[in-house]
Structures are given as C-alpha cells and as structure tokens.
C-alpha cells in the first residue's frame, strides 16, 4: 500500500487482516464493533433477565420462563463495540543505539503493524510517543482502515532522542487517558527492572489490558563490535563505563541482557500481560506472524 513502509508488503497486510486483537477483559467502546462490551445491547450473546415493564419490546419476552413461573421476564443481551487500542512507542535515545541495529525503525514497524491490525478490525487506535524529539501526535483515535497511512505518517515524523523515565511517562499518559482499553508498550526496556515493573504495573492498576513488546538489536544482544578496552557511554544518561571486552565478557554481557528480559517477561506473565521479544536480526514479518499470540493477537 502506498505510504506504508516497504516491509508491509501486500502479502503481509493480507496476513495482518486475518488477525484481531484479543483482550482478557471487556472494555466499553465508542461505537459498534466486534468486541464484547460490558454494556447491554443487541448482540446474540445472552447477558441477563429483568422483569418486564411497560414499553419493553415483546420480542425479548422469554415465553418459556413465563410458562414455568407465570411471570414476564425480558432477556438482556451484551453489546458488541469497538476496542480502544493504545500504542505507546518508546522514542528515547536508547532506541537509536547501537547504530545499524535499526531498533527504532523496527519498533515503528511493530507499532504500525499493530495499528493496522486494529484499524482493519474496526477498532480505534491512538498513538502515544514516550520521549523522542519529534512532534507528539495529537491524542485522538484513528478509526478506519484508510487511516493506516496517516498512522504511518505520524510514526515517520518521530525521531528518537532524549532521556525517558518510563514509569513517570506512563503515569502521565494514564492520567490523560480517560477510557480503558488495550495497550501496547513498545520499548527496549533497557532500564532498571523496577522502573519497568512500576510503569507496567500502572496499567494493571488502571484495569487495562497490556502487551509489552521488547525490541533489542541483534548486535546489541551479542555485543558485536565491542572488543578490547571499551569506554561505553549511555545514550540517555551519558554515564560512562570502562570495560574490557573479550569473548568471556561478551558472553557475560549477553547473559545479563537475557536475564533482564526474562525478569520483565516473568513480571508480565505474573500480572496477566502479554510479552514478546523481538531482536532486529530476525525477519520482521516472520516474527510478527509467529509471535501473534504473544503479542495478544488472535486469528
């Protein structure tokens, strides 16, 4: 589709249209949709009975129950509404490093693909950027498949940069969001684990359904390009650490990163969140389609 990145090929978009967002709880929507809503409505799914009162539609009287109890009851049904989907994209400076790993570009692709799944399913999508040096998109929901291109343009305008305190940033966003829904948080989560858990824990407190998508660079995970004595500088804080990298040190560094990822995943599982890890040396399309369940998507 014109206006979309090259990775989103027509074949891949067709696969995305087969997916829909899966939630573990029901959220009220803003219009008719395909997700069950806690509201009562006219869907086929039975919800409850109530006593008949004047003016009720005769068609919803349960005549079988009237025969057994000699009282008139009206059948109530659940409402099906659209899903409010929030995509939180980490655009801090750490997403731009290591150079050549294309971490931020991969995160943008994931955000766009998730947004496309939601838009193609008739759900509403709001893009929120955490950190970054570009223009913060307006806090409006996009609706309709044709808005995917607008979503791509908004994502294209974002430049990674600056320092990010994930917990504080998410807290501010939650205050601004008035309506609960499905949240996707896309970040490298390369920060202290307690910061990550505190930030993600805010969503569970707000009864939101969350999927954490961690994006790590392939070279970043293996420590490529780091050999001998190296002075590493934190892209966000500027902290400097002198290390001597050999094969043993590279392996230890890799194990540390994997341990951090495992801690985040364990936290997500414990709190009923979805978690997916994407390393940029993998094929993006292959990751997205294979990890659909981990991303909180369903066919």
């Amino acid at each position: 589709m014109a206006g979309l990145p090259d990775e989103l090929t027509p074949w891949f978009l067709a696969r995305l249209e087969d997916l829909r967002i899966r939630t573990r709880q029901q959220f009220p929507g803003m219009g008719k949709g395909s997700h069950l809503s806690p509201k009562r409505g006219s869907s086929l799914e039975f919800s409850d009975y109530r006593h008949y009162s004047l003016g009720d539609d005769f068609r919803y009287i349960d005549w079988g129950l009237y025969g057994r109890t000699d009282k008139l009851y009206i059948k109530l049904f659940k409402e099906e509404e659209d899903l409010l989907t929030y995509v939180f994209l980490d655009a801090s400076a750490s997403m731009a490093y290591p150079e050549g790993d294309r971490k931020f570009e991969s995160a943008v692709l994931i955000a766009l693909a998730l947004g496309y799944v939601a838009l193609a399913s008739g759900d509403r999508v709001m893009l929120r950027v955490l950190g970054g040096s570009g223009t913060q998109p307006a806090p409006v929901f996009l609706y309709g498949r044709n808005r995917a291109i607008e979503l791509a343009e908004r994502l294209r305008a974002i430049r990674p940069g600056g320092q990010l305190d994930l917990a504080s940033a998410l807290a501010r966003e939650l205050v601004a969001i008035r309506r609960a829904g499905k949240c996707f948080v896309i970040s490298d989560f390369l920060m202290m684990p307690n910061v990550v858990t505190r930030g993600l824990g805010l969503f569970t407190a707000a009864t939101m359904d969350v999927t954490a998508v961690q994006v790590l660079g392939g070279r970043e995970l293996s420590g490529q390009g780091l050999s001998g004595d190296v002075e590493v500088v934190d892209a966000e804080t500027g902290e400097q650490v002198r290390v001597s990298m050999g094969a043993r040190e590279r392996e230890q560094y890799r194990q540390t990163l994997l341990r951090l990822s495992r801690e985040i995943k364990a936290f997500c599982m414990k709190r009923g969140m979805h978690y997916a890890l994407y390393t940029t040396d993998r094929s993006f399309q292959d990751f997205f389609l294979r990890a659909a369940a981990d991303l909180g998507l369903a066919h």
Binding site: M191, G217, D229, V232, Q240, V241, V243, S244, A247
Partner: protein, 600 residues
C-alpha cells in the same frame, strides 16, 4: 650453528614497534550504547587487570614469535654438518657400449656393480656423481644422498663420443688428491695402472675384445664439374688373426657398391669405391659385425648431386663467360654495387672480382685481385706489373697438376702477410695466391685475373682455376672431418641443427656446436628452411682398438692424503619460513573461527 648474515638481527628492533602497535590497538575505544546497565557488571572484571596495563593475549606472543623467526630467517642461520662425500666417476663413453662376454653392455654392467656398491654404503653418505663423456662433468651441483646418487647412476646414458682419456686422468688425479673426498669410485672399461692412489676404488668392466672398425669414410669428386663421387673407406682389424673385412656402401636405401680386403692383425686397409651415383647420404657398413657396433658403420653426405651454382660479382661480367662453359656449373653475375649478402643463399660459392663483400660471406668464396685495405679480409697488396711465380706448395690441392713454370700471370697484385690465409703461390713481391678457412668456409684470394684465360689454350691457368673452383665447391662432399664428441663451428646462415635423434637444437653462426655426442647425420637448417647435411662418425681407429686398451695411469703427487670430514653449512632459513607460515595459518584459522563464533 651460526649466522650467514648477522647484520639482519638489527631488525629485532621491530619488537618494540610490535609492542607499541599492540598498545595502540589496546587503547580503549569510546562507544555509545543504548544502556550501560549490562556493562556495569563487567566493570569489575576490567578493574581486576593489574595496574591497567594492556593485555597481551596469545596473538601478541604468537606474532612476537613470528617476528623473531622472520628476523632470524633474514640472518640466515645454519648448522654445520660433517660429511664424508664420495666421488663416483662413471665412464659413459662410446667404448662402454661394447658388449661383454656375459651379455649386455659394459655400461649396464658398470652401472649394476656401481649401484650395488652404493647400496652397501651408509645411508648418510653424500655422493658426487661424475660422467666422463662428451667431457668429464659433474652431474649434480650439490652432493647427493645415496638414494639420489643411485638414481642418477641408473639414469645415466652412454654416448657415442669416445673417452677423453687425458681429461679423465686429470679428473681422477684431482679427485684422488682432494682430501674432501673419503673415497673415489671409478667405474669404466679402462683399468687403472698401478700404483693406484689410495682412496680410488676401480670397477673395471669388460675384457679386451676383438674389434673390426671403419676408420674413415671420405667422399670426393672424381673431378670438378663431375657428378660422380669417389669414396675411400679405411678399415682396421683389431684381432689376433687375419680377417677379410667387407664394406658395403648404400645410399638412400639402395646398395651402391661393396668391396673387401683381407687385413692382417693390427693393420688397416683402404677400400676404394669409384663412380658412386649421386645421393644425399651415404652409409658404409662393415662386415663381419662384432661386439662394438658403433665403429662398424659410417656416414658421409654429398652436396654434389646438384649443379654448382656460382655467384659472380664483378664490374666486368663478361669474365664469367668462360665459367658458364664448364659442365654442371651455373653462373649468376651481379655488379658489386647491386650485390647484397642475401644473394649468397642460393649460391654454392661466390667469386668477387676486383671487389670485396662488406661482410664475411656465408659461402666459400674466391677473391680475384681484391682492392687493398678492405675491412673484412684486410688484404695488404702491392701492384705488380709483370708477376712471376717464384715458389708454390706442391702438395697443396690448388697446385695439383699445375705447371707453374709455364704460368704467366701478367699484371696483378701481390699479397703481404695475411692473418689467417696462407700463401699457396708466391711471387717476387709477395704471395700471388692465398688460401684459408674462416667460420667454416673456404676462401681463396688470387693476385691475378684467372678468367680471361679459362677455356683458352693457357693450360696451367685453366688447371689452376679448376683446382681453385674444385677446392671451393668440394667442401660439401668431404665427409671425413666430423667426429662424435668434437664440437664444430656453426656455419654462417645456420639457425638450428636437427640431431640424429630428431631433436632440434638452436644454433648461432660462428659459435661452437658441442651437442655432437651422437653418431649419424645432422641436419643444419638455415634461413628459409635450407638444409645442409653433415655426417658425424665415431672417432678414429685409436678409439676402436678394444684389444689393446692401455690402462689409465693416475699420478699421485702427494703421499696418501688423509681423509678428513668435510663441514658443510646447512641453512635453516627454509625451515624458519615454513614455521612462520604454519604459525600465521594457525593464527588466521583461530581468529576466523572465533570471529565466526562471535558473529563478527
């Protein structure tokens, strides 16, 4: 152990450079990462390094070793090896082709016995192998191992050239007096006359055998202008009883003539074959055959089958009219100004009247009254009004049957002393006729004009003229001069020589051609593919006498030389370079595997 080039050790100063290179490489680089979270745990490891000094890993020490080895290789290390070389002299001359009573040639038997002797020697012995023919020479530049020496002996080939006994004696004398050699082994047909110097072990193969031989095979024209040839074959009987020796002449596969003679022991006879039909190659075969077949056959070639072509260079071409009247002679006249050396290619001989070519002609030539001071022949002439013959060489072929008392040369010129031409006819003021050979060609200079009298009633002048022309034109028919093993001068215009074996060898005119170890007919190929045949026969009758071969006498000037071990420097440079290559390959392999494993 020592160093051939100790000065190269200065390159060890590169070691600090290597250390500096490592220090520079180990200098910490600055890299921006997404987060230092995972690196904090590694910082403790870095602080463990002693005093923050650079880390010299295995690659540093390996490259230090490679650098050291390279410098050492440049210094040329060697080890001193003690060895007692043995000299082996194998006679591969033509006489070794003679058959032995037990069958097989002398050469095969000598090689077999020599091989057995070498096989019994200690394996670490170093051997120098010498062959005697066509001239004594060493087969290998450096001493060989026993196995290599046995292989060299097995691969040796006997030649058709006779042994140069003088050179062989000199070689054996030199080797026996050389204290470097622990032992000298001579394997040949000649025995060593006592006293044999100590240190020489002789392997004498082949008993004296009776032999019948062709000594010479000479062709000449019956007369100048005649196509018929006359052959003379000398045969010898080296046996203890009189023998009838028969010689058959064949040419181009056809039998032409045969003759025989009863020859007493130790004597020779000459068989004459008149009026042989023209042919390119003549072969003489001696019967009965004997145990040494090399001297039972001889070859001769003839260029007389075609008419004699004369190039006449003269400002007065009418003088050549008389030449054209000789049967079998064709004359081409050309003015001196129009003459070019290329015209000689189609001529058998050239006549320069009142002129001299600007370079040495590539054919036999007659120079009639040449101008003085020419840069080629350097004739020193004196004008003579009425030349008178005062002396002549009666045995010279040019003077044959000439009545010089009746010869009246008239006006002409007399020659002074010439550097390479000898006088044949002398006058009062100097030589009137000179003769000589240069670059394989014959040249005659005449101080008076021969041709106005040719064909007239001046008989002495006509006979002298025909003698001169016969001498100049007959060289191609003379086959007696070329012997196996003897080099000859490459004639002018010859570019290559095809050996009897069919092998083609490049040749340069004016140089010695020494690839003459084979008996047979050699083809001298000139420009435009013109071919001249040249017969090369076995040496002379002295080499054919296998019955009375005299022993070789080795002179021992000094008392028995003490054999002392020879020290040789065995360079180790190659081993060092091999070690360097192995180490570099090892480093490359390990680095590649580690990088592959790390995904770099």
């Amino acid at each position: 152990m020592g160093l051939l080039n100790p000065g190269a050790l200065v390159f060890l100063a590169l070691v600090p450079a290597l250390v500096l290179a490592y220090l520079a490489r180990e200098r910490s680089s600055r890299v921006t990462v997404s987060s230092v979270l995972a690196f904090r745990a590694l910082r403790a490891l870095g602080q463990k390094r002693f005093a923050g000094r650079p880390r010299f890993d295995w690659r540093f020490f390996l490259e230090l070793l490679v650098l050291t080895l390279a410098v050492l290789a440049m210094a040329g290390p060697y080890v001193v090896r003690r060895e007692n070389p043995i000299a082996v002299v194998l006679d591969n001359s033509a006489q070794m082709k003679a058959q032995t009573a037990s069958g097989g040639s002398r050469f095969d038997k000598a090689k077999k016995e020599l091989d057995a002797m070498l096989a019994a020697m200690p394996g670490e012995s170093a051997v120098s192998v010498y062959l005697t023919s066509p001239e004594p020479h060493r087969v290998n530049a450096a001493p060989l191992s026993i196995a290599a020496a046995r292989s060299a002996v097995r691969d040796a080939q006997a030649t058709d050239a006779p042994a140069d006994n003088g050179a062989l004696v000199n070689l054996l004398t030199e080797l026996s007096s050389d204290s470097h050699y622990a032992k000298v082994i001579f394997a040949g047909a000649r025995a060593l006359a006592p006293p044999v110097p100590p240190g020489i072990t002789a392997i004498t193969v082949g008993d004296p055998i009776e032999n019948f031989a062709i000594g010479s095979f000479v062709l000449r024209r019956e007369s100048f202008g005649s196509q018929a040839l006359r052959a003379s074959v000398t045969v010898a009987n080296f046996s203890t009883a009189p023998k009838t020796l028969k010689v058959a002449i064949t040419a181009d596969g056809k039998s032409l003539a045969s003759a025989e003679s009863n020859v007493r022991p130790g004597e020779t006879a000459v068989l004459d074959f008149p009026s042989l039909a023209p042919a390119a190659v003549y072969q003489a075969v001696l019967a009965p055959s004997d145990g040494f077949s090399l001297d039972n056959v001889a070859y001769a070639t003839s260029a007389s089958v075609k008419s004699v072509s004369i190039l006449f260079v003269s400002p007065t071409p009418d003088d050549a009219k008389g030449l054209g009247s000789i049967p079998g002679v064709s004359v081409t006249t050309v003015a001196p100004d129009a003459f070019s050396p290329g015209e000689l290619a189609s001529a058998d001989l050239a006549i320069f009247e009142y002129s001299v070519p600007k370079e040495m002609p590539s054919v036999n030539a007659l120079l009639v009254m040449p101008p003085p001071g020419d840069p080629v022949f350097h004739f020193d002439t004196v004008q003579v009004r009425a030349a008178q013959v005062t002396a002549w060489r009666a045995t010279d072929p040019l003077a044959y049957s000439v009545n010089f008392r009746l010869l009246n040369p008239g006006a002409g010129e007399a020659f002074g002393v010439h550097p390479w031409m000898a006088p044949v006819v002398d006058g009062r003021q100097g030589a009137l006729v000179l003769r000589g050979e240069r670059d394989g060609h014959r040249f005659v200079a005449s101080g008076f004009n021969l041709f106005p009298y040719l064909g007239r009633q001046n008989l002495p002048m006509s006979i002298l003229t025909l003698n001169i022309l016969g001498y100049l034109a007959g060289v191609g028919a003379n086959s007696g001069g070329y012997r196996t093993g003897q080099p000859w001068l490459v004639p002018a215009g010859i570019e290559s020589v095809i050996l009897p074996s069919g092998q083609t060898v490049a040749a340069k005119p004016g140089t010695l051609f020494d690839d003459t170890a084979s008996l047979g007919v050699y083809k001298l190929v000139g420009r435009h593919g013109a071919v001249t045949l040249r017969a090369v026969n076995f040496s002379d009758l002295a080499d054919s006498d296998l019955l009375n071969a005299t022993p070789l006498r080795i002179e021992s000037h000094a008392p028995a030389p003490k054999t002392r071990a020879v020290t040789a420097k065995a360079p180790l440079t190659l081993y060092l370079f091999a070690a360097i290559l192995v180490l570099l390959a090892l480093e490359g392999l390990v680095v590649y595997r580690r990088r592959s494993a790390a995904g770099v």
